[in-house]
């Protein structure tokens, strides 16, 4: 009963966190990051103003744009909802799972991560969207969904013991998955690096088109493509490793990872050839966060078998 309760709260927290990453990406690509110049309030109000008259005198109204304010504030409100859901999950962990160190400490870690990232959100705003801090904000979010994905699969295993008994696991698979996760993380860092550099160039060269900005990047941009294609072959190799594994879930997940990587490469090429359309950027970022979580879930379906 408590197992199921915790699993549900972990699953809801995970799904909400993924939604939050989507909305966070939306803030970024729509350029709404400074929609509210203050934090945590928006133009001095808990509910963003709808007209200029509602802005208090001490706050500069120059940047007021009701659409951007609500996009930014939507991100913050969803952040609060995610925070509450993780708080509830952690409360369940503290009450019922003190003896399960995996769940107990991971819950505390996720609570810490969500609070830290909320606080970092304040710094994002006060730094006027410093690209490095914006990237850090996303990286913390990736650690958060990783921890939450881990909690979800760990708690699922608590009451689905029977489903996990048929898995063939080798050291090779385990090691490959760890490497894949690390490589994907590096790939994401390279991607944020590209975006950071584009933004730094764009601030000093506001007249450059998106295509010209891409051209202005140094050759380091190719690393992202090269590693991306390497990951494609790597995931093909993983599919091959799983060919003898007849357990549905892990095989499904491996093919999903393979498909996601193809999809990510496709989106990446779209961005190059069509001057970085915002919606594509959004899904490219969001897709990368999916990969990070799915690999953790896959790994822990296997890890379970190993420890038996």
């Amino acid at each position: 009963m408590t197992n199921k309760l915790f699993f549900r709260s972990a699953l809801i927290s995970t799904i909400l966190s993924y939604l939050l990453i989507f909305v966070g990406g939306l803030v970024r690509v729509s350029g709404s990051g400074l929609g509210c110049p203050d934090w945590p309030k928006c133009f001095g109000r808990w509910i963003p103003p709808t007209s200029l008259e509602q802005i208090p005198a001490h706050i500069d109204p120059t940047a007021f744009n009701i659409v951007l304010a609500w996009i930014e504030y939507g991100n913050r409100m969803l952040g609060v909802i995610v925070g509450i859901s993780i708080l509830l999950m952690t409360a369940i962990a503290i009450i019922y799972f003190r003896n399960n160190s995996k769940i107990f400490y991971s819950s505390l870690l996720s609570l810490f991560l969500v609070i830290a990232n909320g606080g970092l959100g304040a710094i994002v705003v006060s730094s006027i969207l410093n690209p490095f801090i914006v990237s850090l904000h996303m990286i913390l979010a990736l650690f958060l969904v990783s921890t939450l994905s881990y909690l979800t699969i760990e708690s699922y295993k608590l009451f689905n013991d029977a489903k996990f008994t048929n898995i063939h696991l080798s050291k090779k698979i385990s090691l490959s998955l760890i490497c894949l996760w690390i490589f994907i993380f590096v790939e994401i860092l390279l991607g944020t690096g590209i975006r950071t550099n584009i933004e730094l160039i764009a601030v000093d060269n506001p007249l450059l088109s998106k295509g010209e900005l891409l051209d202005a990047l140094n050759s380091y941009k190719y690393l992202h493509s090269i590693l991306g294609f390497s990951l494609l072959f790597f995931s093909m190799y993983l599919c091959f490793l799983f060919k003898d594994d007849f357990f549905g879930l892990s095989k499904l997940l491996v093919f999903f990872i393979f498909g996601m990587i193809i999809f990510q490469i496709f989106l990446g090429e779209l961005m190059i050839f069509f001057d970085l359309p915002q919606l594509v950027r959004l899904f490219h970022t969001w897709g990368s966060s999916w990969l990070v979580g799915i690999i953790i879930i896959l790994y822990n379906t296997l890890h379970y078998e190993q420890s038996k």
């Binding site: 939306l26 940047a63 659409v67 006027i128 601030v203 007249l207 919606l279």
Partner: protein
């Protein structure tokens, strides 16, 4: 349809909805940017002298996006920051012929054309930045009646705001010339106006 396929269909539908939502929000944000550069009024007629002796009137603002500031050379507080910020904008938009800058002195007694000329060399790297001088009463009138900016107790009481004027001589928006986030805003508004044609 088995339960997995059903879940997949729901998942795809959900992602499709998210994508549509994202598209809607992105589009809405882009449109709001244009709407947000308001209309304050028309630039009044004026006549001021540039450092090269040329008379500059409102007609020189035709077909250019203009950024206007009020400064004086002996000012030690806001003006140096304002002029550095304007110099930054001048440099960043140096490849565009559609943008120009005007700095009007609020201390014409001290700021002769020579003094202004000397001052300009500290900041301007191009000939699209005019440093203008006129009768003090004209300057007060231009600031208060023309641009709706306070001009009490000149020279020090001048406004520290930048005025954005579009190609049709409409006063579009004000920006605090000493605040980095405002300059950032001004920069993106200039790009928005330029893209509009």
């Amino acid at each position: 349809m088995n339960s997995l396929n059903k879940k997949l269909v729901i998942a795809f539908f959900f992602i499709f909805m998210l994508g549509s939502f994202g598209f809607y929000v992105i589009d809405k944000a882009a449109k709001s940017r244009i709407d947000n550069i308001g209309f304050v009024g028309k630039v009044p007629s004026f006549s001021l002298t540039n450092i090269d002796g040329k008379i500059i009137t409102e007609k020189n603002l035709n077909d250019k996006i203009s950024i206007i500031s009020f400064i004086f050379t002996q000012c030690e507080g806001a003006c140096p920051i304002m002029s550095v910020n304007m110099a930054t904008l001048q440099e960043r938009f140096s490849s565009s012929k559609d943008i120009q800058f005007l700095s009007i002195t609020t201390d014409p007694d001290f700021d002769t054309l020579d003094v202004l000329n000397q001052y300009s060399t500290n900041y301007s790297k191009n000939d699209n930045w005019f440093f203008l001088r006129g009768d003090i009463l004209d300057v007060i009138n231009l600031s208060e009646q023309g641009f709706f900016l306070s001009a009490a107790l000149l020279p020090a009481g001048h406004s520290t705001r930048f005025v954005l004027v579009d190609k049709e001589l409409n006063i579009r928006k004000y920006y605090e010339g000493t605040v980095e986030s405002n300059i950032f805003e001004l920069q993106s508004d200039i790009v928005t106006l330029l893209n509009q044609g």
